[in-house]
């Protein structure tokens, strides 16, 4: 049934009214970025000595890493467990992860004071630092993601490298390089795929360890020694919903038929994972008896309730219902709620839960911080659009007349 689906570059107009809005948002973000690099972090953010980490770390980095989890969860499902029926969604998820991690890296460079020393952790090691582990794993995993993407590039360009003019001299060597890469990776790719899954489980959990050291400053509703486990479980739980979310949006944007059947089946696997996450989260709450803090009415209790009820309980109930899984719109809604819930969880952990002992001035993200974050999301969306139009990422039925898949030299199935 899905066998005749083939990844193909999408033919569409790049510029649409929506794309123009995204370009404007991206330009606005870049303008504030220029300010940050010329006048310092203080010039565009509301960060201070009480709140050293803010929106950029919470959203661009922590939520960004979590929402890129679709890459390793689909790789585990499709490549490690060989569930061939899911192959159509692996490439879009891989692209999301690759772009997501790229923006995480860029986001880190923007947030750290000395961006030109971002490579220091490669040679200066501190094994007891959770941040060191996150940093190293993210750097290696990003490389792995790029390697995993190479076959898509070779598939697109082998026999088609055709630079005009003086650059034409490069055509032959480039083509040979692509072929060597293609052949080499064909036999070794499984190493990178497993490494990608291992690296992901490591740094997704270590991202939770990050705030453990700030224990005394953390609100008890979120602080627990099992934070790494909760971060890992929530990352796994958000993987498939993120794929559903992004595939549905891409299909709508390009007016393609959404892969309802695959996405529905994918949705069917969300509920058990989300259930395990919820069980650990609530179990931990009851063991540490932190539910007493829900009786107080304050920002923390409200945010916790929204995060768990809207972001976990409601989508969990929805994904358990067969009628939801049959409806693309409802599946999309439930997936969006999970994405929202996990993103909010990261914001809660890194901003809301962080309560410094000497709170001289409260923190709320500045216009500049919000602009940069929104700008990055816009830029990521634009790049996704460009990539799926250049490279064979999204699978479409082979018999569509407009898209001759003559350059897809290999079939997807082994």
């Amino acid at each position: 049934m899905e066998a005749h689906m083939k990844p193909t570059p999408i033919k569409a107009r790049f510029l649409t009214p929506g794309v123009l809005v995204l370009i404007l948002l991206a330009v606005n973000g870049i303008a504030f970025l220029v300010g940050r690099f010329f006048f310092g972090i203080g010039a565009v953010t509301n960060l201070n000595d009480q709140y050293p980490w803010g929106l950029w770390i919470a959203v661009d980095v922590a939520a960004g890493v979590a929402l890129a989890a679709g890459g390793f969860t689909t790789a585990a499902l499709g490549h490690v467990m060989h569930r061939e029926e899911y192959h159509a969604i692996i490439r879009p998820a891989l692209l999301t992860a690759m772009l997501g991690y790229t923006f995480v890296a860029v986001g880190v460079c923007v947030d750290i004071g000395r961006w030109y020393f971002v490579w220091h952790p490669l040679i200066m090691w501190n094994g007891s630092s959770a941040l060191f582990e996150v940093g190293i794993c993210v750097m290696i995993y990003m490389t792995v993601l790029y390697i995993e993407f190479i076959p898509i590039i070779t598939e697109r360009f082998i026999g088609k490298v055709n630079f005009p003019g003086i650059l034409g001299k490069l055509n032959r060597p480039l083509d040979r390089l692509l072929r060597v890469l293609d052949r080499g990776l064909n036999t070794t790719m499984f190493v990178f795929i497993i490494a990608g899954v291992v690296l992901s489980t490591l740094h997704q959990s270590s991202l939770g360890t990050l705030m453990v050291i700030a224990g005394a400053k953390m609100h008890p509703l979120w602080f627990t020694p099992i934070l790494p486990l909760l971060f890992l479980l929530s990352a796994i739980a958000v993987g498939f919903p993120m794929v559903i979310f992004e595939s549905t949006l891409a299909a709508r944007s390009f007016k393609l038929k959404p892969e309802t059947e695959i996405l529905g089946k994918l949705g069917g696997m969300v509920a058990p994972i989300l259930g395990v996450y919820l069980a650990f989260k609530l179990g931990d709450m009851f063991i540490r008896e932190t539910f007493v803090y829900l009786a107080e009415l304050n920002t923390a209790s409200v945010m916790w309730t929204i995060e768990v009820v809207v972001g976990v309980v409601i989508p969990l109930r929805m994904f358990l219902s067969p009628s939801v899984l049959r409806s693309p719109a409802l599946t999309f809604t439930a997936a969006t709620l999970v994405v929202f819930g996990v993103a909010l969880n990261r914001i809660n952990n890194f901003i809301i839960a962080y309560d410094p002992p000497y709170d001289l001035q409260a923190y709320f993200p500045s216009i500049g911080e919000i602009s940069v974050t929104v700008g990055f999301i816009a830029l990521l969306t634009l790049m996704y659009r460009a990539y799926v139009m250049i490279f064979p990422v999204i699978s479409v039925p082979e018999d569509r007349p407009a898209i001759q898949a003559k350059y897809a030299i290999r079939s997807e199935k082994s």
């Binding site: 004071g113 499984f190 005394a216």
Partner: protein
Amino acid sequence: MKLPSRRAFLKTAAVAGGTVAGLNATAKAAPKNVLSPERNGVLVDTTVCIGCRSCEYACRIAHDLPSPPLETYGDKTVFNEMRRPDSGALTVVNRYDNPKKADLPYFVKAQCMHCDHPACVSACIVGAFSKQENGSVIWDTDMCIGCRYCMVACPFQIPSFEYDKAIQPEIRKCDFCISRTSENKLPACVDVCPVEALTFGPREEIIRIAKQRLTTYGDRYVHHVYGEYDAGGTGWVYLAGRDFADLKFPKLGTSPAPGVSEAIQHGIFAYFVPPVLLYAILGAIMWMTKTRNEEA
């Protein structure tokens, strides 16, 4: 993706495993974190301090930080608001009411506590912080990347960052005057203090002095040497005339500041066994499902 033969699979997997194992052999780099029995400390007796703020002035001068003229330090209005050490002042003095004698308020000097088990040393991504043999917790500008995780980690909210600098912003905090102490001079603040509210010496010695004061002048103090065991022990320890919570000292318990984070971190990475094991299991699943698919 095409899967390789069983033999190639094992071969490549072995190479990958070996690489990871090789990493382990070199993964010994760690920041200097010594807990010498001779390490120094300072006893801050907040019942003695008169709030003259000479220490703030001396600290700025010793660290080449811009300072207003010495005469302005007599201005008592600065005490109306709570202040914290920042990138322009590595130590500050705050005033708190004395419920027993309203005209004799308490003054509390704040600076880096120079923990025995510093959270910043444990947290720093590149190991730019170190605990020196003489007790100082210091920061190395050549390594720092400006990520500010030390600020997140520090339970006393001490490290400060130069938010207004685009190039080479620094993390600033009290360095226990390591350049002065290495020349056998007292830390600037201890040296200048006109009422001897600060006592510098080997940590064991100053804790002995603190306890002696507690027994000799029992009603002058609350019976607690803050920092003897708090946060796993700190280099700077405090005596006070009223409850430490009222003087806005964080209540931290007696376990070391890095808490369980190091235990978790080392548990996940116990000699790289868990990651390598996970790798092997995933490889096995990949191989088995492949074989099953081929037979089907």
